[in-house]
């Protein structure tokens, strides 16, 4: 079954054509990587799928329902959740409170004005589960700004997972990480993808990671989708070698 479908999606920023007639389908349960040089329009594509910006024309469908131009908050409720290239956190709050806010939103408690937020046992359990699963236990009392860069990225993904996504979009999950942290993050993504039965799309520059874990790879160059296939197909694709690298190093 196709979870996400893009039909002829176009987006211009002034004279720049950042999404050129993008058409693709992502199957349920797929772990897809989107690769491409800087400025290829990968983050723009994420922004279009998650409702941050609206495409000029074309259609985006989630489980057969058109979602083009929908607001981020309604897409989150449908199960389309993202993590960010630069970890997007509530920086003065503790790790626990970051997750707690997401869990309160997930359980629809955000309009409760006069109840103490600690009374919701299901919210607490939900947070504890995510903390433990993502290896953040023991750090729940730290303020978000006190975390290492790597842990901030993990917390960003933890917030996204708290929303129980069906489709998870990760924008450069290993950006700026040490080699050690990269390996951990790669394992984490594969593990949560399988455990939570997600459909996952991630943008990444680290080719070891992409070829290591992705079921399917899409290559975006100057806003155009030039190739898709598994690791082997992509590595041998002449268009990818030509346009993306200029020479064979993959």
């Amino acid at each position: 079954m196709t979870t996400l479908e893009l039909r002829q999606v176009n987006k211009h920023f002034g004279g720049l054509h950042v999404s050129k007639n993008i058409t693709m389908g992502i199957e349920q349960g797929e772990l897809t990587a989107i690769i491409g040089p800087n400025g290829a329009g990968k983050t723009t594509l994420f922004n279009e799928i998650t409702g941050y910006i609206t495409p000029d024309n074309g259609g985006i469908f989630f489980n057969g329902v058109e979602i083009t131009g929908a607001e981020p908050e309604s897409l989150v409720k449908m199960g389309i959740v993202r993590a960010f290239q630069v970890a997007s956190l509530f920086i003065d709050e503790t790790v626990y409170d970051n997750l707690c806010l997401a869990a309160l939103a997930f359980h629809g408690k955000n309009w409760n004005i006069f109840t103490n937020r600690s009374v919701y046992k299901n919210v607490e359990e939900h947070c504890r589960f995510i903390l433990e699963r993502l290896g953040l236990s023991g750090k729940e009392g730290l303020k978000a700004f006190e975390l290492s860069h790597g842990d901030q990225k993990v917390l960003d993904i933890a917030i996204a997972l708290t929303m129980k996504p069906k489709l998870l979009l990760l924008d450069e999950p290993t950006a700026g990480m040490s080699p050690d942290e990269r390996v951990k993050m790669t394992h984490l993504i594969r593990a949560i993808h399988e455990e939570f039965k997600l459909t996952t799309i991630f943008v990444e520059h680290d080719m070891d990671m992409v070829f290591g874990i992705a079921d399917n790879i899409r290559v975006l160059v100057y806003g155009e989708l030039i190739a898709e296939g598994n690791a082997e197909e992509i590595q041998k694709n002449p268009a990818v070698i030509e346009a993306y690298l200029g020479h064979e190093v993959l």
Partner: protein, 318 residues
């Protein structure tokens, strides 16, 4: 246990100070204390927008003035017994007005929101001054009648203390509620708030309605202190002094704004008796606090409490 004590300590201090004044305060002290708790309610309600949500409204005086004028004019027209009922109508009117103004202004980004709130309040001030047949114009309204029970200064202080305390309790609950967490989240990262499925504008609007509602109650109560109100309650310096007092006390703590109001009014009273240049002294204090202690008086005391705690700890581990 210890944690519970630290959360309850400010309440304990609040009841000790403002409660004991009922028994020991002279006329002048009670007059000052009435002003402190009423403006304190205004400042804490304002801080729901400012310190919590990160919205700098420069026009909360519009709701303060509205509350005062509704209460004052109704009591004047329908008699003193109506005073207490007017105190209920004022916040309801403020909620209606805040929805109108909020829908127009809350979608704008920081500085535009601030300027628009300022413009609305100045507009209200202009109307209040010019429409003198209805509002009494520059002279305001004097000799506002009150129920007999609330006639004396002390009785009115007790009445205000009860209402302010109830309001502060509700605002304190809000601060610790899920909704309060959302507001703090909006201050820190509104984008992420929408990407965990919440509508930023609607949460801001409710915060604005709540803040304005309690501000109108403060305005209504103020109409009873001196039994007189004047158009200056709408003017931008009114909104401005509330912002100053909030920063002075500490905008990141619930009771900070009340402390700021108390210090400000006490200084004004003490220094004002000694010199007519009291505003110069207060200005100098404000600059010092903002430059050296941006977290306000509460920040200063927390800083010293931490220093003290550290020294205590060192004694245990030489």
């Amino acid at each position: 246990m210890n944690n519970k004590l630290t959360t309850m300590a400010p309440w304990l201090a609040y009841f000790l100070i403002f409660g004991s004044l009922i028994f020991v305060g002279g006329d002048h002290t009670i007059h000052i204390a009435s002003q402190v708790i009423i403006l304190g309610l205004f400042a804490i309600a304002f801080n729901v927008l400012f310190g919590t949500t990160g919205l700098l409204s420069f026009g909360q005086a519009i709701f303060y003035g509205l509350g005062a004028y509704i209460t004052g004019m109704m009591a004047k027209s329908f008699g003193g017994d109506f005073f207490v009922w007017a105190l209920l109508i004022a916040p309801a009117a403020a909620i209606v007005l805040s929805v109108l103004l909020g829908v127009l202004s809350l979608r704008l980004s920081d500085v535009y929101f601030t300027m628009l709130t300022l413009a609305f309040a100045q507009l209200a001030w202009g109307i209040c001054v010019k429409w003198s047949s209805f509002t009494g114009g520059d002279d305001g309204i004097q000799a506002i009648p009150k129920p007999e029970l609330l006639a004396g200064g002390l009785n009115y202080y007790i009445f205000s203390f009860v209402i302010v305390t109830a309001c502060l309790y509700l605002l304190w609950r809000l601060d610790r509620s899920p909704f309060g967490s959302v507001l703090k989240g909006i201050r820190q990262n509104p984008t992420r708030i929408s990407f965990i499925g919440m509508n930023v504008f609607r949460h801001k609007l409710l915060a604005y309605m709540i803040s304005s509602c309690f501000t109108a109650i403060a305005g209504g109560l103020y109409a009873g202190i001196d039994k007189s109100i004047h158009p200056d309650m709408f003017v931008w310096t009114m909104s401005g002094s509330i912002i100053l007092m909030t920063i002075l006390g500490g905008m990141r703590s619930f009771f900070g704004p009340l402390i700021g109001v108390a210090v400000f009014i006490l200084l004004e009273d003490e220094i004002g008796r000694a010199t007519q240049y009291w505003s110069f002294v207060i200005g100098a204090i404000m600059i010092t606090v903002v430059l050296l202690f941006p977290k306000g008086i509460v920040g200063i005391s927390r800083h010293f409490a931490r220093l003290f705690a550290k020294k205590g700890g060192q004694r245990d581990n030489p």
